[in-house]
Every structure is written in structure tokens, then in C-alpha cells.
Amino acid sequence: MVWSDRIAAGSAFLAAVIAGFVLPDWMISLATIAFANGLVVLGLIVMWRAGLVSFGQALYYCMGGYAVALIGRWGGVTDALLLVLLGGLSAAGVAFVVGFLLARYREIFFAMLSLALSMILYGLLVKTESLGSTDGLNVTAPTFLGYAPHQEELLVALYFLVLVVCATAALLISAYFRSLAGALAIPVRDNELRVEFMGMSVSRLIHTKLVISGLLAGTGGALVALAIGHVDPNMSYWTTSGEFVFITILAGAGSVGAAFIGSLAFESVRSFAFTMLPQLWQMLLGSVLLLTILFLPQGLGSLIQRLHWGRKAKAP
């Protein structure tokens, strides 16, 4: 990572921290959910770089959410950090298991198979009346290392938790992108055979990416479950996955930061559309995506890169 990027990332994080103290509650709550969803998008980007589009991220997202709700309810665990960790790990575990199957498929077959797996979880949850079926169940309010905040404090505490988790994830993922395994994503997309000839196992590379994206999606789902205080099977429905793909297109797969910026932009546009056009909000959202595809085919993240290139062109 170049210095300018580090400074940009650092100041963005600082700005987000300061925002936690000054912004009104409803904006913090919106940003909490947007950043938590950004983790799922980051997971999609990890796979996107290898040419894989998952239409089943909702599987891990929902796993993370339900793990938090059930561990909180039956296990009596209330510590937010522990719950998020358990949520993420249970989703990563699922990703590891289904990865043996999924890592063999590419393109539309990969997308459809991942979608099918998430719909199996959806079907199971809908059938389970003891977990509230489609109505879902409430998540108990979390504590932070023994500190049990309420109302505004809880909101802000969750926001900071999300920020810390997101910053950690962003650092680790950008390190991963620079590592050999991460850098091989683009060769995998372009020519798998060559990568194999170089002595690398493509299916192992993809399996690792699946587990990483599962972990990220599960963590995102766990954080959203805590922020919303409720989980339901819709978290696993294919439209939820579709929404994450939508945000990925909006954000672009160019950089780690794009995932969070894109997610924030998406939540803001949707909330704005809800207020402006209560019965036609999908129109506005769809138009935004259409315009993004037409004029920014590499997503909002490409704006940052354009700035970079502009600077480099001036000072060679």
C-alpha cells in the first residue's frame, strides 16, 4: 500500500470515528448497518476478483445472524465481541464444508449452486416453527466486556464495534490482496490452466476465498443481527444475496474501501428514495444502478483510482 493510500484510509477511519460523536442517531444506525453490510460486499469482492459471483452470500449472512440470536438465547452469551466472533466462525465453518462442492464450479453454475444452498437454509428456517418461522426471533441486547449500554449508548457502542471490525477486516483483506494467494485471483480468472501449470491448486485457492468471504459475510450478518435486534429467514433469501451483488456492482471491485463506500451510498440512496418516492422507490434505486453501469462501469471505487491516475499523470 502506498503512503497516500494509508493516509487516506487512516483519515477515513478517523472521520468515521468522529462522526460517531457528532451525527444524529438515525444516521449512526444507518451507517452501522451499511458498514456491516460492507463486510459482506468485501467478501463478494474477494471472489469477484477471481471471476466468481456468488448469489448465495445470504447463506453465510443468515448463519452469522442466527448464530448470534441462538447463542444469545440458549447459551446466555451476551458479549458482543464474542457473539460476532462466533457468528463469523460458524458461517466460515459452513463455507468450509460447502466449499468442497462449490470450489469445483465456475460462472453461472457457481452462482446458481450458491443460490440453491442459501435457499435450502431459507427453506429449513421457514419450516422451523420453533424458531418463529418467517417471523424470526429477537436478539437480546448485547454487552461490551461487562458494560451494558442502553439506547443512544448502545447505538454508539455498536457503531464503534462495527468500525473496529470493519477496519480490521479491511487491513487484513488488503494484506491478503497483496499476498501471493490474493494476487493470484486475477490469473485464476484469466487462465486457470496456467495457474495450475505454475504448480498452484486453483481449487484450494478458491476454497480459501470461499471461507474468507463466508467469514466476512457471517461477521456482517452477526453485526446486523445485533444492530437490528431481530433475525428472520429473509436474511437467507436470494433477494438478499442479489442486494449484495447490487452493492458490489455499485461499489466496484477495485479496492477494499469501495465496499464500505458503496454500501453507505446504497443505504443512503435507498433511505432517500423511501422518503421521496414511497411507492416508486425501486425506480430510483434501479436508475442509480443503471447510471452507474453506464457511466462508471467499474463502480464508485473507480472514482478514487481516477483521482490517482490523474495525479500520477501530472507528476510522473
Binding site: 444524529p24 442517531d25 438515525w26 444516521m27 444506525s29 444507518l30 448497518i33 469477484w48 476478483r49 466468481l52 459471483v53 448469489f55 460462472e107 453461472i108 452462482a111 419450516k127 416453527e129 418463529g132 418461522s133 418467517t134 417471523d135 424470526g136 426471533l137 429477537n138 442502553h150 439506547q151 448502545l154 480468472r189 446486523v224 444492530a227 437490528i228 435486534g229 431481530h230 428472520d232 429473509n234 436474511m235 438478499t240 442479489g242 451483488v245 447490487f246 456492482i249 466496484g252 471491485a253 477495485g254 443505504e267 435507498r270 433511505s271 423511501f274 422518503t275 414511497p278 411507492q279 416508486l280 422507490w281 425501486q282 425506480m283 434501479g286 444502478l289 453501469i293 462501469p297 467499474q298
Partner: protein
């Protein structure tokens, strides 16, 4: 650069795009009157499959009620302008989207738009998710249509109210009506959507039948997918059944599709259909709805509403504006708004606006007469309404060319609702003790 040449399929992009571009019919938007002082958030399905049967009638009910309240034209005792003299400024929000979305928009209403109260929610999932947030934010919230009894059973609530009775009475009354009107039945079947509403409806109905007629056999229990739209296999299965009655909590598109499909194969000639929410479809199905179908309206709403000045007035203003008589979600919305209005006016002692706590205290245990008769917030620690309910038999009157419901039986509130402090499920299973019929 990263999307170049081998993007993982442009088809996906279009797929996502079109699924999000799913456009709803354009409705006239409500313009808030100037100088408004009481702000209300109205949340209901404005798009998606639940919009037509529930969301839009609910929204329309809110629109017309708020308009007439602001004009001070609601009959006595609701004739004060707006809420206690202050006009109402309503903001309409769509309930569609994930739970995260519903909760975020609820927060936006309370914290960004600073509404004085939120009235809304059709889906029980939305209601369950909004409840803890409403309590946390101390935001006065009135649910109008969602039916799950869990809301006030899990914990006592301070700021959440529901004037409309919960779904338990729908199925208990359905069982009572059925047994009163059809003494010769020996077995029954069920066709319900495979999601919380369908599962709960069937569970309550089957449990009530078990108590009231223990010898009755259950034959086919079918749970097709929600919004499946095609019921060929289910109809074939039911045609092999000897049951005389089919219980269904289908609504809107699913109900209409099923009725059309079963008529081609004369299922309704073999067994009576008992449709717990059938009232929402009668104005659209008209003579397509089989005569003899047992119809419920989730309380005494629509054609089952008692004949009163207030009811005739509501029927008239609603039909004049929207060209179709009000169905039960419109009634539930009207009742919820009237309840809130009364509580607000009871809490307002001087000129100043009452605080949320004062309105909530005044709301608790309130009792009033509205277009669907009398309602009392008797259970859920004074937060959950109970009212009488009714079932009837459908008949399409060819001379008048309009649907009618005949053979109506009314059940008092205490006959079909659990007493205060008891869980609905347990009450039914333990033999519905204390029911006063």
C-alpha cells in the same frame, strides 16, 4: 479493469436491475396540510405482493381518515379537528424490504423526522422486529394489521399498542362457526401458505377443533409455498380427500389463483371452503367466489361490521374516494387511528402537546366504538385490543349484482380471545377455559 473482458456474466447485472425495477402502480400521493402540528408516520406495504390486499387499503384508510380528521368531519365523538385540535401531518413509508430496512426506516421516522407516533405494519415479522426498537426509543407505536399474539406475550410493553385484535380469534371463531353451522362433518383438511401466518393459522384452527370436536379427523394438511400461484397438485390431493371442509388462510393473489383453479375442477362442490381472510377478495372475485364459502374478515369489518352511523359514514367516504368498499385492513387502520386520537385527546389537558408517556398512559386499556364496533384494550397489560368477531357464508346476489354475506354469527370478544395474562396457544390447548359465549 477488473470487470473487463470476462465479466462473470452481464446477464446478472440485468437480472438484478430488473428485479429491482419492479415498479408498483402509481397512486396519488398525500400532501400534508400546512401548519401541521402532530406528525404521524404511516408504514404499510406500498409495493410488492402484500400491497394490493393489505398495504394499499390500509394506506387509503389512513389517508381518508386523516383528511377527514383534519377537516373535523368525523362523526361524534371524534369530531375535534385532527388530534385534539392540532392538525395531523402524515408521512407514508413503504414496509417492503429486509427487516434491517424496516427497522432503519422506523428509526428514521422517529429520530430524523421526529414523528409523534408511528401507525402501521402488516407483516408480523416487521411488528416483532420493530417492537424492541420502539420500546428502546420510547416511541409510541400502533400496529394496525399484523396478527401474531407473540408481541405482548413475550414481554410487557410500554409504548407499543395494537387496537386490532390478534389472529387467535380468527381461527377460534372459524372453528366455532363451522361446528355451529355444519353438524354433519367428520373430517377437515387445511391448505395454508408455508410461512408464519399460514402455519400459525392452521395451528390455532386445528387446536381449537381438537378442543371443540375431539372426534373430528384431520385429513390432508397442505402447506404450499408462499405466492406459489399454481395449486394443481394440491387440488388433486384434495379431490381424493373425503373431508367436508377445507380451512385456508390464503389471501389475495394466492386466494384468487386457488379459487379459479379449484373451480375448474369443482373442488368447492365437494367440500366447503373456509377462508379466514376471504373478505379482502370478495369485491374482486364477485361471482367467481363460490356460494357457500365461509368468510371471515379478521374481526367485524367490511360487510360483517355492525350497522352503525360511524360504519355507514366510513363505508361512504371510502367508497366515494376509492371506488371500492373498504376491506378489513382499511377498517383496522381507521380503528387504530381513532384509538390513538382518543388517547391523545384524553392525555391533552391544556394547550400544550401531551408527552409520549402521557399519551401511552391514556391509551392503556382504552375502550371505544368505531366503524367496526366496540373494541377494548383488555389484554397484553392494556395494550392489546379485543373485540367481537363474526363469520358468515358468502353468496353472490345476482339481482343486486353484488356480493353479500349471509347467515352471520357474531361471537363476543370473551368467547374467542384468551383472558388477560394467558398465552393464546396455551389457552386454546388447555380447552379455552373461561370463554364466555
Amino acid at each position: 479493469m477488473l470487470f473487463a473482458v470476462r465479466t462473470p456474466g452481464h446477464a446478472f447485472l440485468w437480472f438484478v436491475l430488473f428485479s429491482l425495477l419492479d415498479v408498483a402502480p402509481i397512486q396519488a400521493q398525500n400532501v400534508a396540510p400546512p401548519g401541521a402540528t402532530v406528525k404521524l408516520g404511516i408504514v404499510s406495504f406500498l409495493t410488492g405482493p402484500a400491497a394490493a390486499p393489505f398495504g394499499i387499503p390500509g394506506r387509503n384508510g389512513a389517508e381518508i381518515m386523516i383528511e377527514t380528521m383534519n377537516a373535523g368531519k368525523v362523526p361524534t365523538p371524534f369530531n375535534k379537528v385532527g388530534f385534539g385540535g392540532s392538525t395531523i401531518d402524515a408521512k407514508y413509508i413503504d414496509e417492503t424490504g429486509s427487516t434491517a430496512n424496516v427497522v432503519t426506516e422506523f428509526r428514521n421516522l422517529v429520530q430524523r423526522d421526529q414523528v409523534d407516533a408511528v401507525v402501521g405494519y402488516v407483516s408480523s415479522g416487521s411488528c416483532l422486529a420493530v417492537t424492541p426498537v420502539a420500546e428502546e426509543l420510547k416511541a409510541l407505536t400502533v400496529f394496525y394489521d399484523c396478527g401474531t399474539p407473540r408481541i405482548f406475550e413475550e414481554k410487557p410493553r410500554a409504548y407499543v399498542f395494537r387496537v386490532s385484535p390478534h389472529a387467535t380469534m380468527d381461527n377460534v371463531a372459524a372453528a366455532r362457526y363451522l361446528l355451529a353451522k355444519k353438524s354433519d362433518i367428520t373430517s377437515y383438511s387445511g391448505l395454508n401458505q408455508n410461512y408464519a401466518w399460514g402455519q400459525d393459522s392452521w395451528r390455532d384452527f386445528a387446536a381449537a377443533m381438537e378442543v371443540l370436536a375431539p372426534k373430528m379427523a384431520v385429513d390432508k394438511v397442505l402447506f404450499p409455498k408462499l405466492f406459489a400461484g399454481e395449486y394443481g397438485a394440491e387440488i388433486s390431493t384434495l379431490l381424493t380427500s373425503k373431508s367436508q371442509v377445507l380451512h385456508t388462510s390464503f389471501y389475495d393473489g394466492d386466494l384468487e389463483a386457488f379459487i379459479y383453479q379449484e373451480q375448474a375442477r369443482a373442488l368447492d362442490k365437494r367440500m366447503t371452503i373456509l377462508s379466514t381472510t376471504g373478505e379482502t377478495a370478495i369485491w374482486r372475485l364477485r361471482d367467481k367466489m363460490p356460494n357457500g364459502t365461509i368468510i371471515g374478515a379478521r374481526g367485524t369489518n367490511g360487510p360483517l361490521a355492525p350497522d352503525s352511523e360511524l360504519n355507514r359514514w366510513f363505508q361512504k367516504i371510502y367508497s366515494d374516494r376509492y371506488g371500492i368498499p373498504p376491506t378489513y385492513p382499511a377498517y383496522q387502520m381507521a380503528m387504530s387511528l381513532l384509538g390513538l386520537k382518543l388517547a391523545y385527546e384524553k392525555a391533552k389537558t391544556g394547550e400544550a402537546k401531551p408527552t409520549t408517556d402521557e399519551v401511552a398512559a391514556a391509551f392503556k386499556g382504552i375502550e371505544f366504538e368505531g366503524p367496526s364496533g366496540s373494541v377494548k384494550l383488555a389484554i397484553g397489560d392494556g395494550h392489546q385490543g379485543i373485540s367481537q368477531t363474526a363469520y358468515g357464508t358468502y353468496r353472490f346476489n345476482k339481482e343486486k349484482n353484488e356480493p353479500e354475506i349471509v347467515d352471520v354469527v357474531r361471537f363476543p370478544a370473551e368467547c374467542v380471545n384468551p383472558p388477560a395474562g394467558l398465552k393464546a396457544d396455551d389457552w386454546i390447548k388447555d380447552g379455552m377455559k373461561g370463554a364466555k359465549c
